[in-house]
């Protein structure tokens, strides 16, 4: 049996920012639906920065950045323990879900 001499596992920031990206992608899709369906939400986002799309970007990128930093804190700074397959699955699922929500909303729901 051939010995596996390769290192395994990824850094805590690869895990934390990967999880944060998945979360932010889903929130991105949901925020699109919320602001398009609710004039009050869109007006509030417009007031915050002068443009609702700019506010949207700031919120989502903020979730990504803060989330990535936060998810690296548990377990004494080692971040969440997560198998690489699970990380990749979560990342892809988040991006696909966000994409489907956005495309689906503008194709069907808008």
């Amino acid at each position: 049996m051939k010995a596996n001499l390769e290192n395994t596992g990824v850094s805590q920031y690869t895990r934390s920012f990967g999880l944060s990206l998945a979360l932010a992608s889903v929130v991105n899709g949901l925020l699109v639906v919320a602001k398009e369906k609710s004039p009050a939400v869109q007006a509030g986002m417009q007031r915050l920065t002068g443009n609702h799309w700019v506010t949207h970007c700031v919120v989502i990128l903020g979730i990504f950045g803060v989330g990535g930093w936060l998810f690296a804190r548990p377990n004494g700074g080692q971040g969440f323990r997560l198998a690489t397959n699970r990380l990749i699955g979560t990342l892809v699922a988040g991006v696909v879900t966000g994409t489907v929500i956005i495309l689906g909303f503008y194709l069907i729901g808008d």
């Binding site: 395994t8 990824v10 991105n28 700019v54 990504f64």
Partner: protein, 151 residues
């Protein structure tokens, strides 16, 4: 000046796409010899994406309204109602993925199969989304042309 701004947006978007493809292929053949290059090109992909995002975002906020009116009055209103509306929100995911790429590529890819797999998936998603953005941008531009030709 508007047109030069838009060409800059497209240029850096394509540069990001090409950089992501470069990272993908180099990672398939990861070794000590190309480790530094992989990380540098992944950083370049992220920088190009941020530049494309700021240029496009600036133009969208300051100048797109005039084009939007033309598109909506023309024969291709879907160029705004679907393509621009989805593009302006999908691009945020592309920006996050491009920013994440150098984070994922920071490990020892030649010795770490798990790190290589993450980079391959992220680089692939960046390339796929960037290609989609380029296509939608093309349709939006054509929507303006169709609107102008119709009147």
């Amino acid at each position: 000046m508007n047109e030069i701004i838009m060409m800059g947006h497209v240029f850096f978007g394509v540069a990001c796409l090409l950089a992501a493809l470069w990272v993908f292929v180099e990672t398939l053949n990861a070794s000590q010899a190309n480790q530094t290059r992989i990380h540098r090109i992944s950083c370049a992909a992220a920088v190009c994406m941020w530049i494309a995002f700021f240029i496009g975002g600036y133009w969208y906020v300051t100048s797109y309204h005039a084009d939007k009116v033309i598109i909506l009055k023309g024969p291709w209103p879907f160029a705004h109602n679907f393509c621009m509306e989805t593009k302006e929100h999908l691009v945020i995911m592309l920006l996050m993925l491009a920013t994440y790429l150098p984070i994922a590529a920071a490990g020892n890819l030649s010795a770490n199969k798990d790190a290589r797999r993450v980079v391959l998936w992220v680089a692939g998603l960046v390339a796929l989304l960037a290609f989609t953005m380029e296509g939608e941008g093309g349709v939006i531009a054509m929507g303006v042309k169709m609107g102008l030709l119709a009147h």
